[in-house]
């Protein structure tokens, strides 16, 4: 059974590219375009890994991350924060909130795929 990935971003074109990229690698993919929708999708879709944008309307990526980590039943979900804000403080904040990795936009598609696979234990 293929691993499930949830893509959360408010930029439609980024969602399009990520969705295409992940599907091509054989993952099952679901999409959310804001924080609230993301939490709903986590419950319904039960992803193994989330690609989570930080700057989003309604709930920021940080808030989503915090909510997920506060819920023991979601403890196994891997979180990769994606952000266009590359400042050190943001990285530190994301990791402190329990994200498993932090990737700065724009990213290399190759690196991102490799990273996701490593995290999911598919080599």
């Amino acid at each position: 059974m293929s691993k499930k990935i949830l893509i959360v971003d408010d930029e439609p074109n980024i969602v399009i590219s990520l969705e295409f990229l992940m599907k091509k690698e054989g993952f099952a993919v679901a999409v959310a375009c804001d924080g609230e929708e993301a939490l709903a999708k986590v419950a319904s879709f039960a992803p193994d890994l989330i690609l989570l944008d930080v700057m989003m309307p309604k709930k920021s990526g940080f808030e989503v991350c915090e909510a997920l980590r506060a819920d023991p039943s979601k403890a196994g979900v891997l979180i990769v924060m994606l952000t266009a804000k590359g400042r050190d403080t943001e990285v530190a904040k994301g990791l402190a909130l329990g994200a498993d990795a932090y990737v700065t936009k724009p990213f290399s598609t190759k690196d991102l795929v490799a990273r996701v696979k490593t995290m999911l234990g598919i080599v």
């Binding site: 408010d10 930029e11 439609p12 074109n13 980024i14 399009i16 590219s17 990520l18 295409f20 990229l21 091509k24 375009c33 804001d34 700057m55 309307p57 266009a84 804000k85 590359g86 400042r87 700065t104 936009k105 724009p106 990213f107 290399s108 598609t109 190759k110």
Partner: protein
């Protein structure tokens, strides 16, 4: 039954208790644990309330009504001048002042003449006052004995004499323990404070007994009194006596600091300046409490003894006795005894210091030429003189009391004494605040004031007692009418106290000022004037050293100290002085100006400043500094002070500048932070389109077999995002230029209607594609505005493309309305989109904040269009805002002002 012996025993026991309190105070002081607290100090100031208060106030109230209050209002007002008294204390500590005579003498060049004059005035003015206290004690004993029918005599001596002897003993024991008069008499102060407590307790006890025990409370008493027209008069304030009120307030206000005993307690015995702050309210409170029952007692006495001829001065005793309350009467007797003894003790100690230092010493120093050269220890002699002076003053008081008896001269002496010491005021205050005051002026003023006082007040009181012919009072001296003693120069109609105060102060102040202005101070005077008037800023160490020049032998100085202070005390002081100058022994110190000054101030503490100066001059070869030279040195000191003030001002300026810089720095930091945030946001905005471009390009690049549909979709996205990136960069640059003021503006007359029409035309295609109706309501003739045409077009296009973005496709409607007024042109862009919340109406004008559903429209917006538009409109003096409610569409409105006719050539290019 009150037997004479019992009363004697009681009085003796009370005085014994007083001794014990004083011993305790001294013992604690010797052990270094002073019991003089702020409260004790404030209570000791109440030595002001003598037996004249204790018995006499009631008597005065029976004849003068409320006027007895003046004696307490004056001191209360005077104490409010805390600054004046603090200055007096500071000067006295710096100059080691021993008495009020020493204070005045020291200020005017350490003048023995002035010291002597002040002493003589004080003795003449105050000895009768002491006699009054003895008389009060005698009278109170008489009342008690008369009541019990007993009598009391030991070895043929009357009780008053015995009391005087005990008081002399007390004063000698606790007033002359040390030679150094500036050293405090803490035991005495403690005893006086204790007595203050006793007298107020006793007086209030009698007051409460009479008011509530003999009558039914205050209202009952006053109602009964009011029933009698005669008594009712006492409760009224008599406006015709206002002159008396004013002069009594002035007199008693001066007395509270210038009576020798008051100066002793307030200034010389002060341990800590901060104690004064307590006294400022505690002492007036004390006065208030002790006065509450004066009027009730007076009324009660008058009502109770109506027509029996009982002396009102004895009401405090006779009222309790009339009801058989013997123990209360005894308490009142002890209270009266407290009031009298407290006054006598402090007064004799203060006077004895003055007599010894300022009368006897100068005479001794002058008359026996070899007195100075004798190698014997003089400290014992000094103490002996002081003790003899105490005995003598009390003896004088006793003799005066015996001689005067019931004579008028005794009854009115309280105020006469006040008027005498009031003569010190001009020289004192002038000396503290007026550098031009000179010795000659002070002598003249004192002499003039004293003579007038003698002629208009003291001698007439003698005449009224029948001790001398009264012709000069009734007909004037040598029969000259305008020399009538109590109607001088025809000034009749005043009471004798006001009359004396008026003329004596006129003569005193007049002579002081006139002579001061017409005489030159000598060198010592000039430097002392500086030290007194500028006591708070006098740089003593530096200037003092330069104000003395000469040669001195340390051995001679030390010998002098040993002879006047005693070897032990001199050794002690020398050791302390050596330590303060970081030397092991005084022998290692040079006999310089500082050493001489030390010796002189130590001597001054013992024998007064004037005598000390004479003594030091006798062993040191002093070079006389000319007045010019002294003034130069003082002037220099003043300049140094001025410089230091300038420096202080500079420092304050610097501090202000530093604060300003710090604030500016804060602001810069804030700006920097904002810029940082801005850059971070801009980076974010730039990275977002780049992310899609990179990700999609990489996928296209890596997978050549991607099917055509995906391929062209991805390329389409890449093109759109690249366009968005370009637009973003252009707008950021545009914004940055405008914010830094480097944008280029071309200003010309612009027809706003034309701009609107052209903008609408250029976007027509876009509107049509989306199926949105675009309508215009634009009048053909509008006043032209002065602006940059291209920039206004930019604003219009921005607003229109925003509108088309947010209205629903197919049913959308956008209306452009332009209208002109005299002073501005108004443009509205109205849409029927989703509308904005009140909060959104504000934030959409912030950078990178977009309204509505950004998910769908994000690629088109940069979040900079509205901020830029607003900057443009505001640059031309207009406003841009939005009026909207959710669901009701949005109406973006901007205005551009129409230039006044004469302003046509105003802005060409900016």
């Amino acid at each position: 039954m009150l037997s004479g012996w019992f009363i004697a025993l009681l009085a003796t026991a009370y005085l014994g208790l007083l001794f014990a309190v004083a011993r305790f105070g001294d013992a604690r002081a010797d052990a270094g644990k002073s019991i003089i607290s702020a409260n004790v100090y404030a209570l000791s100031v109440a030595v002001y309330c003598t037996s004249w208060t204790f018995y006499g106030s009631v008597g005065r109230a029976t004849s003068g009504g409320l006027s007895f209050l003046t004696i307490y209002i004056g001191p209360t007002l005077m104490l409010l001048c805390v600054g004046v008294i603090i200055k007096m204390i500071r000067i006295s500590k710096a100059q080691r002042i021993t008495s009020i005579a020493d204070f005045i003498a020291s200020r005017y060049g350490k003048s023995q003449l002035l010291a002597g004059m002040v002493t003589v005035i004080a003795v003449i003015g105050v000895v009768p006052y002491i006699a009054l206290q003895l008389k009060a004690m005698a009278a109170s004993v008489d009342v008690l004995l008369e009541h019990s029918g007993g009598s009391f005599q030991v070895l043929g001596l009357d009780s008053t004499f015995l009391i005087a002897v005990v008081l002399a003993l007390f004063s000698i024991l606790f007033g002359t323990r040390h030679l150094d008069a500036t050293e405090r008499h803490e035991g005495m102060v403690a005893a006086v404070a204790f007595e203050s407590v006793v007298k107020i307790v006793a007086f209030m006890a009698v007051g409460i007994f009479v008011t509530y025990g003999m009558f039914g409370g205050l209202s009952d008493l006053f109602q009964k009194a009011a029933a009698s027209a005669d008594f009712g008069r006492l409760l009224q304030l008599d406006s015709s006596r206002a002159g008396t009120w004013t002069s009594l307030i002035i007199l008693s206000g001066l007395a509270i600091i210038f009576l020798p005993r008051q100066f002793q307690i307030i200034v010389v015995e002060n341990v800590d300046e901060s104690h004064l702050k307590r006294a400022v309210w505690l002492f007036p409170l004390y006065l208030l409490l002790i006065n509450i029952f004066v009027l009730p007692l007076a009324l009660g006495g008058l009502l109770h003894f109506d027509g029996q001829g009982v002396n009102p001065d004895t009401f405090v005793l006779t009222l309790p006795l009339a009801r058989g309350a013997e123990s209360l009467a005894l308490l009142a007797f002890i209270g009266g005894l407290s009031a009298a003894t407290g006054m006598v003790i402090v007064e004799t100690i203060a006077l004895s210091t003055m007599v010894c230092n300022d009368l006897v010493m100068p005479i001794l120093l002058r008359s026996t030429g070899n007195f100075v050269d004798k190698r014997n220890d003089l400290s014992g002699l000094l103490i002996g003189i002081r003790r003899a002076a105490i005995a003598l003053i009390l003896l004088l008081g006793y003799i005066y009391f015996r001689a005067a008896g019931e004579a008028y001269a005794l009854v009115g002496i309280g105020l006469i004494s006040f008027a005498a010491v009031a003569q010190f005021a001009p020289a004192m205050f002038g000396g503290m605040y007026w550098k031009q005051g000179t010795r000659a002026g002070a002598v003249a003023g004192l002499l003039a004031g004293f003579m007038v006082w003698l002629y208009t007040l003291l001698l007439p009181s003698f005449a009224k007692s029948g001790w001398m012919p009264s012709g000069f009072v009734e007909n004037g001296l040598f029969g000259i009418a305008w020399l009538k003693a109590q109607a001088l120069f025809g000034l009749a109609g005043l009471d004798e106290i006001s009359h004396c105060l008026w003329w004596s102060m006129l003569a005193n102040i007049g002579a002081y000022v006139a002579v001061s202005l017409n005489s030159k101070p000598d060198a010592v005077e000039a430097s002392q004037a500086e030290r007194f008037v500028d006591v708070f800023r006098f740089d003593s160490r530096n200037t003092e050293a330069r104000l003395w020049r000469g040669k001195a032998s340390p051995d001679a100085l030390v010998q002098l100290l040993e002879r006047f202070l005693g070897a032990a005390r001199a050794g002690q002081q020398l050791a302390a002085y050596a330590t303060s100058r970081r030397a092991e022994h005084w022998r290692n110190l040079p006999a310089d100006a500082d050493f001489v000054r030390f010796a002189e101030s130590e001597l001054a503490g013992a024998i007064g400043s004037a005598s000390a100066r004479v003594m030091v001059a006798s062993v040191a070869q002093e070079e006389d500094l000319g007045l010019e030279e002294v003034l130069d040195i003082l002037d220099e000191a003043t300049q140094v002070r001025a410089h230091s003030r300038e420096l202080e001002a500079k420092q304050r300026e610097l501090e202000a500048a530093t604060t300003e810089l710090r604030e500016a720095n804060e602001r810069l930091r804030e700006l920097d932070r904002m810029k940082d945030d801005f850059i971070s946001t801009v980076t974010h905005e730039l990275r977002t389109p780049l992310t899609s471009i990179r990700a999609l390009s990489e996928m296209l690049h890596e997978d050549p077999r991607l099917d055509l549909a995906d391929r062209s979709r991805f390329l389409g996205i890449i093109v759109t995002e690249a366009e968005r990136l370009t637009r973003l960069i252009n707008q950021i640059l545009d914004m940055a230029k405008m914010e830094s003021g480097r944008a280029e503006w071309t200003t010309s007359e612009v027809d706003m209607g034309e701009v609107a029409r052209e903008s609408m035309a250029s976007l027509e295609q876009l509107f049509r594609e989306k199926g949105v109706v675009l309508e215009g309501d634009i009048p053909s003739s509008l006043p032209s505005v002065l602006a940059d045409r291209d920039r206004l077009t930019q604003v219009m296009i921005n607003l229109l493309s925003n509108a088309v973005k947010f209205v629903p496709g197919g049913t959308g409607r956008v209306l452009v309305r332009v209208s002109g007024a005299a002073d501005l042109v108004r443009v509205e862009v109205h849409d029927n989109g989703p509308g904005l919340t009140a909060e959104e109406c504000i934030v959409i004008f912030e950078k990178f904040r977009q309204g509505g559903n950004t998910m769908t429209d994000k690629p088109q917006g940069t979040g900079l269009g509205l901020p830029i538009s607003r900057q443009i409109v505001e640059y031309f003096g207009g406003n841009l805002w939005v009026e909207s409610e959710p669901g009701a569409g949005a109406n973006f409105i901007f205005t551009v002002p129409v230039p006044a006719p004469d302003d046509n050539n105003g802005r060409q290019t900016a």
